[in-house]
Structures are given as C-alpha cells and as structure tokens.
Amino acid sequence: MDDMYRDYILDHYKNPRNQGELEGATNSYSDSNPLCGDEISMALRIDGDRVADVRFNGKGCAISQASASILTEEIKGKTLDEVKAIDRDHILENLGIPISPARIKCALLSLKTLKGAAWGLPAWPGEDEAKARSAG
C-alpha cells in the first residue's frame, strides 16, 4: 500500500497538473466509472497533428486523478499518432505503482477519456469496442 500511495502519486492527486478549463479546445470528452463514482473530463487543443494543450477536470480516487494528471503532462506536445499509441500497459508502467485488479479501472479511466477526446469517438479502437450499454 505504501508502494501504491507514493509521494508523487499523492502529489499529483493533491496538486493536479493541467487542471481546469481549456480555452479554444478542439476536442473534449468525459467519462466515468459508475461503480466508483470516478469522473474525468478532458479537453485538448489540437494544432496540426499535435496536442498543443490539454486540461482535465475530475473527481474520484487518488489513483484515477493522479493517473489523469500524469497523463496530461505526458501528452502535451505529442503528435496525435503518439497519443493514440498509448495503451494500458504504458499507463500502468507510467504510474509506477502496483495496481490491484479491482483498481485497474480507476487507473485507466484517464486513458479512456483521453482516447475519447483524441479519436473524437465515444469508444476507441481496440478498447471496449464491445461495450454494449443500452439504457432501459
């Protein structure tokens, strides 16, 4: 646990980077994890093929919020192709802490939101494409 809540994780949680609204956003997306109540919305300003700027807002557990904060730092200035190449494993590695199975969804919510924003799609290729939620 002490492994999981390392100082930099808690720092990102308490002092999230790139938090807030983004003026002139070109792409944005929100997603949530109903089970935990974690929520993240992310806005990108894409300039040519690059992520010129990024902001996020969210609430939820330390893992979900730190993951989002770290991710925004990473993608700023990257090309869209580079952003689209980011996968689960990359996120988990980047977090640098052991994530138990029950918390994987928390760690990956930021990626899910980013991909929604980057692709402009509600779901993105190769991830959860079979998600078949229907309202009843």
């Binding site: 646990m1 002490d2 999981m4 809540y5 808690l10 109903p34 089970l35 935990c36 109540g37 974690d38 609430k59 939820g60 557990c61 330390a62 893992i63 138990s100 918390r103 928390c106 009843g136």
Partner: protein, 421 residues
C-alpha cells in the same frame, strides 16, 4: 455530527464470540501478514464449518438428484432438501412450508414476483411505491415493470439520518397503490424501517406489500406471520449459507393463483404438446434441478443461527455499534452516514474520511487486513440523495469483536497518515 451514542456507552454482547469464531475457518487467515478483519458482512457473510460440512456431506455421502429418484441416495438428498425448506419456513415464521420457494438470491426473488404477480396484476396507470433506501435489486425490477406496463413509480425520501419519511409514505399510501416494495433494513446505512406498521397501513389501503429482508433475516428476528406482508425475499449467502441459496416467501393464496416463473423439469405435473399442468406448491416455482446442496447449506446455517439466537446476534452487533460509533465520530474529518443512535438499526456503519476517496480508504485498509466495502453499495438512489458518490461501509456479524473495531480505527489512522489529512 450529532452522534448521540457517547464513548463509554456500554452495551454488553450476549455472545461467546471466541467460541463462535472457532467455527469459522476463514477467520484465522491472514491478509497481507495481518489477521483478517472481515467487516463486509452486508455484502456476504463467512461460513461456519457446520455449513461447509453439511454441503460436503452431501457430496461425499449421499448425493443424488432430488424428487425423482426411487433409491436411497435420492430419498436422502430429497429429505435433506425439503428438511432445509422446513427449517427456513420455521425460521421466518411461515405457517406452511409450501410458502417458501428456493431461489438463487433475493434478487431472483424480487424478479420472480415482478415477472409473475407483477405482470399479472400491475396495469397502466397503477402506482408502485418505492423508497430511496432500496437496493437496486428491489428497485430496478419494478422500474422496468413500470416502464413496460405504463405504471408509475412513487419514490419515498429519507431524512438526513437516513430514516424513511414516514409522513410522506403515509400520504402516498393514502393516495392508493397497487404495490409497496420496501426494504426491511437498509444495506447502505443499517436503518431498520418500522415494517410491521407500514405493512398494516399499506395493506389496509389495498396495496400488496413485498418486503426485501435481505439485510433483516440474517440480523434480526423476522416473522412473516407477525409482519403480515404478502411477499418477503432474502439471500442465504448473507446468513452463513452459500451463495446460490435464498428464498421467496409468499402468501399461499397468492402463490396458488400466480402463474409459474421459470418453466421446465420438476415444476410440471403433466406435459402434452398442447398444454402443461403445473406441479403443486412450492415446486411449481422451482424449475429444473434446484441448487439443492446450497439449500441444504442454508438449512445448516439456519440451525446455526437458531442455536446462537438471532436476537442475541442483533444485540451483539449493537454492542459493536455502541463501541465504534462514538469513537469513529470523534475522529476529525470522519463523517458518519445513517442513524446516529442505537434505535432501529443493525450493525452497518457507513462513513467517509475527508480528503480520501472510499476506494483509497478500502485499499489502505486491505493492507491492514481490514475488509470493508467502498462504493455505492447498489444504492445509487441513496447515494444521490446523500450527495456522495460513494461511502466506506463496515458491517458486522456474530463473529466480529471490539478488537476488530480497534483495527478499523487503526486503519483509519493509517489512511490519514498516508494521505496526510
């Protein structure tokens, strides 16, 4: 926070907990190097060796399919299965064993009633009264039924302590309703509703009443004859029995008139291409091979609970609440949800620690061996009402101790240190 239970309030437990704990093999296990402190009993309970042994005895000594076999093993298994039904019937105060239908869990129980009695009786424009305390399993089936037939769901609110707004409920009952589907005991907050008086009120006004007793039957004496409701559901896995066991109790007159739910083997008496005649109660509602080993486990669980005494278990749980609640509420930054007194509640304590999300709380607790639930507890309507996304919930059972409360308090301390709050 106005917790009226003060530190030093002593409520003595009537149980010999050390003796009880010795019956539960899992309680001597360690988690992350710490003795396990299992405080997620509202989700599911642990099982005593008597239940594990009863199930194993079926498999090793006399297993056969029930009802149909003309040989000794089958007769023995049938007797154990129907014997379990008789135990359950007695345990919940049913007059007649045929009123107890074995189902997988409380959820299937509610759905059984919704698909049969519900679809036969609830029509467009009818009112169904529900409450924000309901578990999703006693809400979504009615919501979907209402949607399908054009009925209306009327929601009853709670006050800030999580107690049902009685006046609102009475007013809505007076306006008339086809069905009141109400939880006996809230799994999110531990609130116990005054079900008996509510049932009387609703039935006098012509409503049929289903009681969700999933959190009641394991923790407080429940008597369907005394409650005088129409249907009651519960889950075995929350009362020392295996998952896969559970029951619907219904008035025999209602059950007789209802069409069956699932169709197939064992629930029929005669099948021709043109039509099928149903078996007698309760088998009319038990299609295919029952989870008979789980049901036999439930019978053994009832034996265990009766030997200990459910009223004693209730008192024991309250003694733990009396110990924990004041200590918990003294911790800066801790907010407790639900009843702040010992009246009309069971051993469920929901709380949050400011600045730490419940999932992080639960993860840190886990490293201390403390198992609690973090989330919406299948109570999204209640969470919305309380204005929180999730809570941390500790829930007690007969084997929990004040030492375990201390472990919980210690884990809170640890979490606050880690998060520097």
């Amino acid at each position: 926070m106005a917790v009226t239970v003060k530190t030093g309030t002593e409520v003595r437990s009537p149980l010999d907990v050390a003796k009880i704990r010795a019956d539960f093999p899992i309680l001597s296990r360690a988690v992350n190097g710490k003795p396990v402190v299992y405080l997620d009993n509202a989700a599911t309970s642990q099982k005593p060796r008597q239940v594990i042994g009863a199930m194993r005895a079926v498999f090793e000594e006399y297993n056969a399919n029930i009802h149909r076999g003309v040989y000794e093993f089958s007769e023995q298994t049938t007797a154990a299965f129907e014997g379990a039904r008789a135990k359950v019937a007695r345990f919940i105060g049913a007059h007649d064993d045929r009123e107890v239908i074995f189902v997988r869990n409380a959820t299937e129980g509610v759905n059984l009633v919704a698909y049969t009695w519900g679809r036969e009786n609830i029509r467009s424009g009818d009112r169904i009264i529900s409450t924000v305390l309901e578990h999703h399993s006693d809400f979504v089936p009615w919501q979907q039924l209402a949607k399908d037939v054009g009925a209306q769901i009327v929601m009853i609110d709670v006050d800030d302590d999580g107690r049902l707004r009685r006046e609102q409920l009475s007013a809505e009952i007076k306006k008339g309703a086809k069905l009141l589907a109400i939880t006996h005991t809230s799994n999110g907050l531990g609130t116990v509703n005054p079900v008996k008086e509510i049932v009387a009120e609703a039935r006098a006004a012509g409503a049929t009443v289903l009681v969700d007793a999933a959190q009641a039957v394991p923790h407080t004496p429940v008597d369907v004859t005394d409650l005088d409701c129409d249907f009651l559901v519960f889950s075995g896995h929350k009362m020392l029995a295996p998952p896969g066991s559970g029951g619907v109790w219904g008035r025999i007159g209602l059950l007789e008139r209802m069409r069956p739910f699932l169709f197939g083997g064992d629930m029929i008496s005669r099948v021709t291409v043109e039509k099928t005649e149903w078996n007698e109660l309760p088998w009319k509602f038990e299609a295919g091979t029952s989870s008979y080993v789980d049901a036999i486990g439930l019978g053994a669980a009832v034996d265990y609970l009766e030997a200990v005494g459910v009223a004693n278990i209730h008192d024991h749980e309250l003694s733990l609440v009396a110990y924990l609640l004041p200590r918990l509420s003294e911790i800066p930054g801790v907010e407790v949800y639900g009843p702040k007194t010992l009246d009309d509640r069971v051993g469920v304590v929901s709380f949050n620690i400011e600045g730490i999300h419940p999932h992080d709380v639960a993860t840190i607790f886990d490293r201390e061996g403390v198992c609690v639930r973090a989330g919406h507890h299948c109570n999204q309507l209640l969470m919305t009402r309380l204005g929180v996304a999730a809570t941390t919930r500790a829930s007690f059972y007969l084997y929990n101790t004040t030492d375990e409360c201390d472990a919980l308090l210690g884990a809170i301390d640890r979490a606050k240190k880690v998060f520097k709050v």
